[in-house]
Homo-oligomer: 257 residues x 2
């Protein structure tokens, strides 16, 4: 309590943010869970995708991470009942440098989460496209990490580095983090490469490759524009059904741990 | 001499690397220019896309940036005549932290380029998906920056931050950098959003939005797999023709400066 899950992959544009906001929305809206999204990306897109206006620094997660404000003054409600967010803005990049100079820099977000006054069932953390201090913090603060993978040739290359980071967090800092699973995103089955990469990943990852795949769909883009996750405003679309199925599979996997 | 161009956009997966390797290949192969690609992304994908095996740290750009080796021992030929590369590997992330502690940290790559023994006509720099010290170095070392933009809602949001960084490099460090232009990538005209974003960007950017657009095409993916840019192994495909046209438009713009 609460269940902390990071969505991470240092490759850019693979659907991390889209996954965070849609899985969080399914958990809150369909499963009536109390969910907090922690936006640990200076781009702040998870915050925007959940309907927030761009926040100023003093009302962003930076203010809490630098102890400028207590975290309960930073938490924001969203238009979705039971779904809250700790929003970020571009100053999180400078905050990352500030944090990175401190001893125990990987544990700053973990301590922040421990200090949360409310009880959440789930905390879902969005990460930036790199393996820097913010990502270390997300991973160290999490029980589980979910890895979205685009069926592209460069996707497999980056996994080794991500595992190496996780291994160092385990061996040096006794992190409790486990990989809950990997899953294919932006899947377009018309292309040969999709099938090639799927085969390759099934072979490499075995059970660690989730069954659910997220299809390529422009519907997700509309959600970003509206500031409402696709699973909320267009629940019958195939991509919404897929994110619902992904969330169910995640809950099953967590349950069997 | 040489003409230094960075390809930058902190949003992930918008086609920076694909643009760097294909424009560089057109310049070298079709226009017979001497071209150096500088891979300033710890992911090292530009290096892989140009046919190199993964390099060890002592043979990567990190070794030159930390003065461990002279840069001429790091430069590698590629299978494409007249196209060389300064390759990177994941240790460039650690090198970035090392560099970021030094005075004049934004000018390290610029000094490295000045020390190059060979004469190149063009230097094309690939950047990571963030506005960190490596990207500052790429921008500060460049005469021009090219900005690929995916027609997606989050794309416009990040441009402000990029301009802010460029403005600070100008005002604080007297950088000479200019935005050569922005261009749409991964364009799929079946989607309404593509037309919406195109209109919006034409309105906002005017002349600064290049005419050439790069269509969405799985052919680019094959090039990554083969380690041969698409413009080389499949020059008649629409995406290759588009990268050729983009290169011509870039040369025209440079010429009219
Ligand atoms: N299944 C999908 N189908 C179609 N488009 C998608 C899908 N998933 C994500 N996208 C779109 O692709 C782009 C990148 O997605 P997103 O921002 O979620 O990725 P990301 O991994 O968080 O990117 P970054 O590395 O920059 O943080 C967005 O414009 C998003 O709307
Ligand atoms: N025009 C295009 N059509 C189809 N796929 C493309 C196109 N341009 C790039 N891609 C693919 O999209 C993915 C991302 O492209 P690329 O790696 O060039 O982007 P990037 O901006 O360099 O990413 P990063 O932010 O991670 O450095 C790659 O798998 C690439 O093959
Ligand atoms: Mg994101
Ligand atoms: Mg890249």
């Amino acid at each position: 309590h609460p269940l902390r899950i990071s969505v991470a992959n240092q490759k850019g544009g693979v659907g991390k943010t889209s996954t965070v906001v849609n899985v969080a929305a399914v958990l809150a809206h369909k499963f009536k869970m109390d969910v907090l999204v922690v936006d640990l990306d200076p781009q702040g897109h998870a915050s925007l995708a959940l309907g927030l206006e761009r926040v100023s620094t003093e009302f962003s997660i930076s203010a809490a991470l630098t102890s400028y404000k207590p975290v309960k003054e930073i938490i924001r409600e969203t238009p979705i009942d039971k779904l809250h967010v700790l929003p970020s803005n571009e100053d999180l990049a400078a905050t990352e440098e500030y944090i990175s100079r401190q001893p125990g820099r990987e544990a700053v977000v973990s301590k922040l989460i421990e200090s949360l006054p409310m009880r959440y069932d789930f905390i879902i953390i969005d990460t930036p496209p790199n393996l820097g201090v913010l990502t270390f913090n997300a991973l160290y603060a999490s029980k589980f990490v979910l890895v979205p993978i685009q069926p592209r040739y460069f996707s497999i290359d980056g996994l080794r580095r991500l595992y190496h980071v996780i291994e160092l967090l385990h061996s040096r800092l006794r992190a409790e983090l486990e990989v809950l699973g990997h899953f294919l995103t932006m899947v377009d089955n018309r292309y040969k490469i999709t099938h090639e990469i799927r085969q390759d990943l099934r072979h490499r990852l075995g059970e660690s490759l989730l069954r659910t795949e997220i299809p390529s769909s422009v519907r997700l883009e509309e959600g970003h524009f509206l500031g409402r996750p696709c699973v909320i405003y267009n629940p019958d679309s195939p991509v919404s059904k897929a994110y619902e199925a992904l969330t169910v599979e995640i809950l099953e996997r967590i349950g069997s741990h």
